[in-house]
Amino acid sequence: MRRFATLVKMLDATNKTNKKVDTLTQYFKEAPKKDGLWAVALLSHRRPSRPVTTTLMRNWAAELAGIPKWLFEESYHIVGDLAEAIALLTQKEGGVAAPSLSACIEKIIILKSQTDEEKKQYILSQWKSLNYFESFVFNKILTGGFRIGVSQKLMTRALSRAVNVDEKILAHRLMGQWTPQTTSFERLILHPNPEDQISQPYPFFLAYPIEEDLFFKKEEADQWHIEHKWDGIRAQLILRKGSHFLWSRGEELITDKFPELEVLKNLLPRGTVIDAELIPFKNGFIGNFQDLQKRIGRKTVSKKLQEDIPIVLMAYDLLELDGEDLREKPLWERQEKLDVLLKKFKSSDCPLLLSKVYRFKNWKAVRLEREQANKKRSEGLMIKHKEAPYGVGRQKGSWWKWKSDPKSIDAVLTYAMRGHGRRTNLYTDYTFALWEKGELVTFAKAYSGLTDIEIKKLDQFVKQNTLDRFGPVRQVTPQLVFEIAFEGIAPSSRHKSGIAVRFPRISRWRHDKKIEEANSLDDLKAMLP
């Protein structure tokens, strides 16, 4: 625990990527294998399930700190992070030897089935004996959300250096649903057993947003394959040894949520892996992304739900055929093979479609195709180099996304909330409203798009123009207008405004506009497709 806490402290203390990788590499070299594996798990967002509610933790922390409950809550909101607030409020000099990371987590796993009194006794004993940083890490493991400015890519790179295994191979080994409870450092990382890997997905290859000015000047259109960028869930379909698996990009196994894909087990040959977008698709039309969330959200997938929101996989890449890894083959070859495969096994009830590949002679034609995006219900275009192999993670160079220009609307700032993490102690999460019969109706929340200087100015404004307070939220005098950009727009019964927008963000502070000049809800409704 001490070693891991020191690692987190050192990672926290630098902004330099190289230094982070060095620090991590050193850790993986020195840490006992058992701890190292848990560190890999935590840094790739695999954590033991929460043994205790945060409500209980908050009560116990207030009690230990000797402060009233309300003061604990206020402190927590100001700190912006529960794990940190508890560590600050219960801080001790430490000194007592902390248990190892794996021993600590094993205890946390057992804790789940114990009584509240036993939980309390253990957790309080840790708060009393761990030093500030150890306590912070301990609380982070308990509450989850282990974000410490280290991407999975960075962690993989460091681990690759420490154990001398190629980064790409390692990234593949770390995919899927594993836990240190059922595997070991040896079996997962050093010498994996092929039997364990039937369900294992390949790392997803991710695209960068295109740098328009540079790209179109430098590149020839005929070297690139164009596809529409479908608005669904990125998914990998695996058919191996008579079983099928569907993974989402977040490395979640979502096979059970889409039972209609089971037929593919009999349609496609074994040893096939397809990269695709899972989209709602009814009577030949592409549906809304929001509908897909309904299907993901339900515990059991009823027949009715399947009928209401049918889905298809829009396939665009073939990663494995007849058990052979195709990722090093050029894109055009993989696409050709995918085309042949789908044609061969095509049937009317097959929930698998081929995402059409376009080839254009010049960028002007590509631009025209992009203008069709809304009509074809895509988010824009994907631009992929025809000779490119299938990479690992987000890499610049061969896969680009060129989204449609966002829609935008001018809205009034009505509420602000304190931010988290880097934005702790500043009002950075904002709520925006539009006019409806002389009243302001909330339509979206947004927290990105402002510069640091604008955030500071807005923070000052919020503090000086507070009308009311609700915990970490402040209602402010309606006075400021912002241009809010967003991607998709759809009707919604869950939102007060009756409309849901996707990826809302602030595109501009409209200093030039008075609140009377902000848009109305009707203006927004007029944008519905």
Binding site: D12, A13, T14, N15, K16, A65, I67, P68, W70, L71, E74, S75, I78, V79, G80, D81, E84, A85, L88, L89, Q91, F136, G149, G419, H420, G421, R422, R423, T424, N425, L426, K456, D459, Q460, K463
Partner: protein
């Protein structure tokens, strides 16, 4: 009529017709300390602790300022005033006012820890205590300052061994001198930015500091390699910083207790070192005065006052124009 009241120009004693740390120009003002939110420009006559006189003259230019010793009583129209050590920065005072047996104390800014350069805080018994509450939340608990100074010296020594220059940033009045006082000058040389050098020069007449050298246009990267440079936080992201070569950056502030603030500040090392009282410091200071009434002025005023009320004090908040929640941000700009 209260002895001290809060007006649009600042804290006012009507009986003596004098202001305490006013934020507008007035005829006569008693000044707690030299920070710019407490000692402002435009007043005809400033009265302050004797150590603070050269500080505010340096900051405000050609002003009329008279100095008083700590604990020395002087009377203005029947009101007895005196300055008492606040331990915040050199020359900082709590201001005591007594009239017909009623005693008020205005703290300005203060800390209860000794910092090695300021006269140590002394509790002053009173009926009404106007206290700052910049860090009036229980999450703020300062470490022993010596531990922080030790880790600063370790950081510097490590950088020095790697031929890297250490840039240590802090507020120009108080923090920088406190840092300087505890630097281990056997490691290497100490350089300063102009803003910090001038204030340090002013204070050298009262306090012994290690030698410092001003960074000028002619200073080369090679010359300062491995040394430590003291500068105000405003240099972060400026052109000045580029002249320093290979750097490790450090920032000393109470706000660095928050992980979010540390990450936002984007320095290599954050040192939690404050010239304000922490939660326990504030509570012990209030208890030591034996007061009945508490008025909290800047920082987490409302939360702190609410807590004090629950603990049995007659506590309330008062809006002032002293910088508070946003101190860190304003200092940086």
């Amino acid at each position: 009529m209260p002895l001290l009241e809060f007006t649009s120009k600042g804290i006012y004693c009507k009986q003596a017709d004098v202001y305490l740390d006013p934020w507008r120009g007035v005829d006569k003002a008693l000044i707690s300390h030299g920070h710019s939110d407490h000692a402002r420009w435009g007043t005809k006559q400033y009265i302050t602790n004797e150590i603070n006189v050269p500080i505010i003259k340096h900051r405000l230019g050609n002003i009329i300022a008279s100095g008083r010793k700590y604990n020395e009583t002087f009377t203005i129209n029947g009101v007895q005033f005196s300055f008492h050590p606040a331990g915040h920065v050199p020359g900082s005072s709590q201001i005591r006012a007594e009239y017909k047996g009623e005693i008020w104390v205005f703290t300005g800014d203060y800390k209860t820890q000794a910092d090695g350069i300021s006269t140590v805080f002394e509790p002053v018994p009173c009926h009404t205590f106007i206290t700052e509450s910049t860090f009036g939340l229980p999450v703020f608990q300062w470490e022993q300052p010596q531990k922080v100074h030790d880790s600063i010296n370790q950081w510097w020594a490590q950088n020095h061994s790697e031929k890297t220059t250490s840039l240590l940033m802090g507020y120009s009045l108080g923090k920088v001198q406190r840092l300087l006082k505890h630097l281990d000058s056997s490691i290497s040389k100490i350089y300063t930015h102009g803003a910090t050098e001038h204030m340090t020069q002013v204070l050298r007449q009262f306090i012994d500091f290690p030698r410092t050298e001003l960074i000028t246009r002619d200073t080369t990267k090679k010359e300062i390699e491995g040394s430590l440079v003291l500068a105000p936080p405003a240099v972060l992201g400026s052109a000045w910083i580029k002249k320093l070569g290979l750097l490790s950056t450090g920032y000393a502030s109470g706000w660095m207790a928050f992980r979010g603030a540390r990450r936002r500040r984007a320095v290599d090392r954050a040192f939690v070192l404050s010239d304000h009282a922490d939660w326990k410091g504030l509570l012990s200071a209030i208890r030591a005065t034996g007061c009945e009434n508490v008025i909290t002025t800047h920082g987490y005023t409302e939360l702190f006052a609410q807590y004090l009320k629950e603990q049995g004090w007659n506590a309330r908040t008062q809006k002032t124009q002293y910088e508070s929640e946003t101190e860190e941000i304003l200092v940086a700009e």
